[in-house]
Amino acid sequence: MSPFFCLCSTGSDVACCYWICCSGGLELLCDSVKMHNVNVDLENGLEQLTMKDLLAWARTNLIKERPEMFMKGDTVRPGVLVLVNDCDWELSGQLDTTLQEKDVVVFISTLHGG
């Protein structure tokens, strides 16, 4: 069993769809659903979705409880690892990372003991 919660995107005509995965206990904040197939409408004037937008969207639409466990301010809480297409988002600019269709975003919480 893979203990990950992922956000991924699937193809779509208009809005961009993503798959979001949460792991490390984060899935508990989303009604224990690990994999989310997500459609995000782009706001007027925006050409591409950035991680910053996606996070804001996730906080409103995905996280059902205790948002402070997932985010702190604009970005993820310290201790949450973010992978975009299996690459650390530090490589692609963190919040400025632009997302494309069929992208897979994985959030892994590293906060508890192991």
Binding site: M1, S2, P3, F4, S23, G24, G25, L28, T50, R77, P78, G79, L81, L83, V84, N85, D86, C87, D88, E90, L91, S92, G93, Q94, D96, T97, T98, V106, I108, S109, T110, L111, H112, G113, G114
Partner: protein, 360 residues
């Protein structure tokens, strides 16, 4: 952070700094170079190998128990230890040792993971339970003591449980998956508690060499900030259990952890620096330090008449669960301590307290 170019880079625009062949997946912790998955595995495993060899953690032929909870640190530890043991011929006999505290909905699930690890890694598993050792599960203890000091009980009991399990397996050493973040948290906690004795011991990579079973922490220099263990476990698709202990939200360590995570975000080296500070503490010779002896009741190592586990157990069995928590620490001397605590003389009362007794 590459903020020079405003166009956000997609990870595919460069190649791995080490092999120059593959797409990078993350930044190498120490040097912030971008490396691919395979190079990450090599770098990670090689670093652990160097820590093991450089600190002379093991000798060939030793029997070693790996403290396994089913969580990411211990799973990665078990995987890497058995891999390095094979690759570099350490000549070790490895075992998995797991503690069942009796926490429904948490430990029973993670133990299933460890049982799978036993099969996946081919390492014999021994499980020790609080119920067998002490006659109490954590669930039962929490019903009596509530949610405030339960982690104190669990920590004390677990330490002994691991030693008893290790003795049963007749191992020479115990390894645990504690990493740099954990040790930094412990340093902070010991400072907050005024526990000078523990502070001087907690930063060593091998502890308890004068006790029943020495324990070492090969991940001592692994920063969690760069999330190495998680990343490693994720990429390698290791099987681990990842939910927080249901009782842990009230643990004091959580505050230290939150603080450390914030510090790390601003300056990643802060973690290692805290550990270095802990290592560099010098204790004044006039400070009263506890002497090591043995517990009168069970023979376990202890600096008091009775070891902490016996004090706590006595309290539980007598229906006095607060025994051993807070100021009335010692069975015999509880009245004296309470008198001391009531004195509000600032300096005088703090100096006269035996070290490690500033409980909150």
């Amino acid at each position: 952070m590459e903020e020079g170019n405003t166009i956000a880079k997609r990870a595919g625009s460069r190649l791995c700094c080490l092999c120059n062949e593959r797409k990078p997946a993350l930044k190498r912790p120490k040097t912030l170079e971008q490396i691919c998955r395979d190079c990450f595995y090599n770098v990670f495993e090689e670093e652990i190998h160097q820590v093991i060899v450089g600190n002379h953690l093991f000798k060939a032929g030793e029997r070693v128990a790996i403290g396994a909870s089913g969580g990411k640190d211990s799973t990665v530890l078990a995987y890497v230890m058995s891999e390095l043991n094979r690759r570099h011929n350490y000549g070790l006999d490895l075992f998995l040792l797991s503690v069942d505290e009796g926490i429904t909905g948490y430990r029973d699930d993670s133990l299933e993971t460890v049982k799978r690890n036993e099969v996946q890694y081919g390492l014999p598993l021994k499980i020790v339970s609080y119920k067998d050792l002490y006659g109490w599960t954590m669930d039962e203890i929490v019903k009596v003591i509530g949610l405030k000091n339960n982690c104190t009980f669990c920590g004390v009991f677990r330490r002994q449980a691991l030693d008893r399990g290790a003795a049963y397996l007749k191992v020479d050493k115990l390894v645990t998956g504690h990493n740099a973040d954990d040790i930094a948290e412990t340093v902070l906690l010991n400072i907050l508690r005024g526990d000078v004795a523990r502070l001087s011991r907690c930063t060593s990579i091998t502890t308890g060499e004068d006790g029943p079973i020495p324990r070492c922490k090969p991940f001592k220099y692994t920063y969690e900030n760069f999330n190495q263990n998680h990343t490693y476990a994720y990429f390698k698709k290791l099987d681990y259990f990842s939910t927080e202990c249901i009782y842990s939200p009230n643990a004091y360590r959580g505050f230290a952890r939150e603080f450390i995570k914030d510090l790390e975000r601003m300056r990643p080296r802060a973690i290692v620096d805290i550990i270095k500070s802990g290592e560099n503490f010098r204790i004044s010779t006039s400070t009263k330090m506890p002497e090591q002896g043995t517990c009168e009741r069970c023979g376990y190592i202890s600096s008091q008449k009775w070891c902490k586990a016996c004090v706590l157990l006595e309290g539980l069995n007598r229906g006095l669960p607060k025994l051993g928590i807070g100021r009335s620490r010692f069975l015999e001397n509880s009245n004296d301590n309470r008198k001391e605590a009531k004195r509000n003389d600032g300096d005088r009362s703090i100096e006269s307290k035996q070290c490690g007794s500033l409980d909150f």
